[in-house]
Symmetry: C2
Subunit: 468 residues, 2 copies
């Protein structure tokens, strides 16, 4: 229904001037209206147009964030939270202008409670910086999207990564948030207890809300002990279907595998070029086991049997930590590696997630579709969760290529939805996937989401034009 | 602020008559306004007053639930969802009258997808019925509150139980919900993919909302394979503190223990009386390990070492499944067993949950408090999560005893909150714990919860007078 749709608008020139002047005065050299800086803050790893904010501020505390939001709320000026800008779906674009709140200076690790396996961090801390910090204490934070994203951005997009099959996603690894609401109030969503039934789950509501309800200013994260033993390696398969089938059986048999990642033949080729891996160019599963030494050995043996059942092998173990790091770095670099397949092209990534029983079918059909459409598009996937990514290499100067890619990405999402899946397993909706929200959720569900948006952000200033 | 508080009221006599007449006509013998039935539907395992609904209906489909809610919405008549009535905090009371929607006839298991490790059930299915049904397929659903609660009620109170330390709570084990909203629309919160970043997490919003946003009519649950090996048993400790310290070290060392439950000496005594266990009356940890045969043996050995470090043991293994069942049944019956400690008394249970580093301190102080107050109050706990229950045996005819108990329960919650914990780990807020919401969450957070309540239930008809 039309009357239920949300509408947003650009602030008036007066309102905007009043806000930018006040921010410039308050933040001094932590304020910028420079054209390049503004464009950088609208940059996302997508092919959408760059829609820069009117200015960028760099707060250093929750109170400063609250003061920015209060100021903007008073004048109806949009506020867009910015982490590291590694979003893939246009989350940080500013279609209605406004203030980009760059949280990179809020990058302190405030508390670590080793005895409770949790910590409190500011949103600008990146996942790698956090793990660097934790290592000495024998702890780690498992969520690892490809980029070295900020924890705040990861919470806001409900990110996951290669460890999700064992450790869950951001929704499973956040105990509590401090948030600046759309009215500029600082609230906390929960306490530090490991579980609670005390009222509505505001933590989970802000996770994945992409900054459309408020700005996350502190995050209490669950941590894990670094496993006593880690082993893993890479296993070739005769086909993507065989690799998916092996994955399905691994999950179904309850093997507590920590990571199980698919690289199709094209992605292996890209990794060979980018990271000089020298791998055979055939579909591969990159796996890792965590646990005690005995348990890891047992898991690996059981996985080896499963792989063999589907014609996989021989398994190449990465026993030395540096070999393991090299393999996983190659996996994390897959986005950048894929660029090597078509120099000069833009890489446009999309992800879908389906029930695991449909995974082999979904990936196989997608490969067929890529071939039929004449695209260059490697596939990687967190296949243990039924989640995979396609990265299309597009010549942005060739309208026919752009059109072919658009049509393909549309069919990819459709295929995922037709198989009871979701249009995004972990990248989020942003701007790019808003068009699938009704199809995925139904109009009634989307209406309900909009009524929450309206309740929590009545003036529509929090990252407008995203999700709903 | 007063203007932010929600107010509810009883419907007018005309509105009520119009609804009850329509329901009586539509539902025939699946409608009742009988006094006893009404009182049963306001019965919860608490000492709060019985506040019966005006009538009870027994729908058999989502569409029937939607028609009931639509009818009530049109007349401003409260709607209270009812599962098995095992709530401990007055969730199903009807302080403003209205219609109790008893979901016990919606108890079908609709789909089981063994290959995806999930299933779709109606809300009236109980946890035991579900596990009975799943057993032949080698699957189980781990969440197990003490009572044989309904899955809908468990979702609505964000229930957990003895397996939560390993398998999480209801929030971690629901993939998707079908819900009848306050306007009587049927919506679905998510698809069947194992993870998704597609918009707001409505699933988690309805979980723990205690029926104040809508009525859950279908639940898609994650399932788990029955472990290849299960072993466990019971281990005595010289003190509650020693048992808690052993628990803390077990968790901190990353042992993937499936269950670790504390029974204090008084609870052991109650279990001995109720279930004829013949155990030594000293604090006990009841533990269970899940995994492969080798992994279970390794876990058990490691736990044995930890227990010994704190003076625990000797460990008594329950190798035979029937012994294990008897032990866990005794644990699940602890509420009923505790009644044996003071025949004729009422058992009033409360639960708090604190960061695990504070657990030993919190339980020890609570035991001291119980002794000083002269109460009879056994303690059991899902101590792996920092969560424990105190069950006070009260003589309801003795006002001094009632007062003593009230004061003690208040101090218990305060103690939990003072240690960064929550006023309820798994029982929910209901009516009884509403008074702690501001203290736990702050006024700002509670305001935010209220604005969501207002957005999703503008007429205030969904289980009014609960949570917010």
């Amino acid at each position: 229904m039309d009357d239920r749709t949300l509408t947003f608008q650009r602030p008036s020139a007066e309102a905007l001037a009043s806000v930018t002047n006040a921010l410039a005065k308050k933040f001094g050299n932590r304020f910028s209206a420079n054209e390049t800086i503004r464009q950088q803050h609208a940059h996302t790893l997508t092919w959408g147009a760059n829609q820069p904010p009117d200015c960028v501020v760099y707060p250093q505390s929750s109170e400063e964030v609250a003061s920015i939001v209060s100021l903007c709320a008073g004048q109806g000026v949009p506020v867009i939270a910015f982490g590291t800008g590694t979003s893939l779906e246009g989350h940080v674009n500013a279609p209605f202008g406004g203030v980009s709140v760059d949280l990179s200076m809020m990058n302190r690790i405030l508390e670590v409670h080793p005895e409770d396996l949790d910590c409190v961090v500011e949103p600008g801390v990146t996942r790698k910086a956090l793990n660097e910090y934790l290592r000495d204490q024998g702890l780690f934070f498992p969520i690892d999207p490809g980029a070295d994203a900020s924890i705040g951005g990861m919470a806001s997009t409900r990110a996951s990564g290669t460890n999700a099959v064992r450790y869950g996603t951001m929704k499973d690894n956040v105990l509590s948030l401090e948030v600046v609401t759309a009215s500029g109030e600082i609230i906390r969503t929960a306490r530090r207890a490991k579980k609670s039934s005390a009222g509505y789950d505001l933590t989970r509501l802000f996770i994945g809300a992409e900054g459309t309800f408020g700005i996350i200013t502190k995050i209490t994260l669950k941590l894990h002990g670094i496993p006593e033993a880690i082993s893993g390696g890479i296993c070739p398969f005769p086909s993507v279907k065989a690799a998916c089938d092996a994955t399905i059986l691994t999950i179904q048999s309850g093997l507590p595998i920590a990571r199980i990642e698919l690289l199709d033949e094209l992605q292996v080729k890209a990794a060979n070029i980018h990271s000089r891996l020298g791998l055979r160019e055939t579909p591969m599963l990159l796996v890792e086991f965590h646990g005690s030494a005995a348990s890891v050995a047992e898991q690996a043996a059981r996985f080896g049997e499963i792989a063999e059942e589907f014609g996989g092998g021989p398994f190449e173990w990465a026993t030395k930590p540096e070999d393991r790091t090299r393999l996983w770095q190659a996996r994390h670099d897959s986005y950048w590696a894929s660029l090597a397949l078509r120099p000069g092209a833009k890489a446009v990534a999309s992800d879908v997630c389906v029930p695991i029983s449909r995974l082999a079918e979904c990936v196989t059909e997608t490969q067929r579709d890529i071939a039929a459409a004449g695209l260059i598009a490697p596939i990687v996937g967190h296949v243990g969760d039924g989640n995979f990514h396609v990265c299309v290499l597009v010549d942005m100067d060739d309208p026919a290529d752009v059109k072919r890619t658009e049509d393909f990405l549309h069919r990819l999402v459709r295929r995922g939805l037709d198989m009871e899946g979701t249009c995004t397993g972990e990248h989020g909706i942003g701007q790019t996937k808003m068009k699938y929200m009704v199809e995925e959720h139904s109009a009634g569900t989307l209406d309900l989401m909009r009524s929450i948006k309206r309740a929590l952000d009545p003036a529509g200033i929090m990252n407008p034009g995203k999700i709903v």
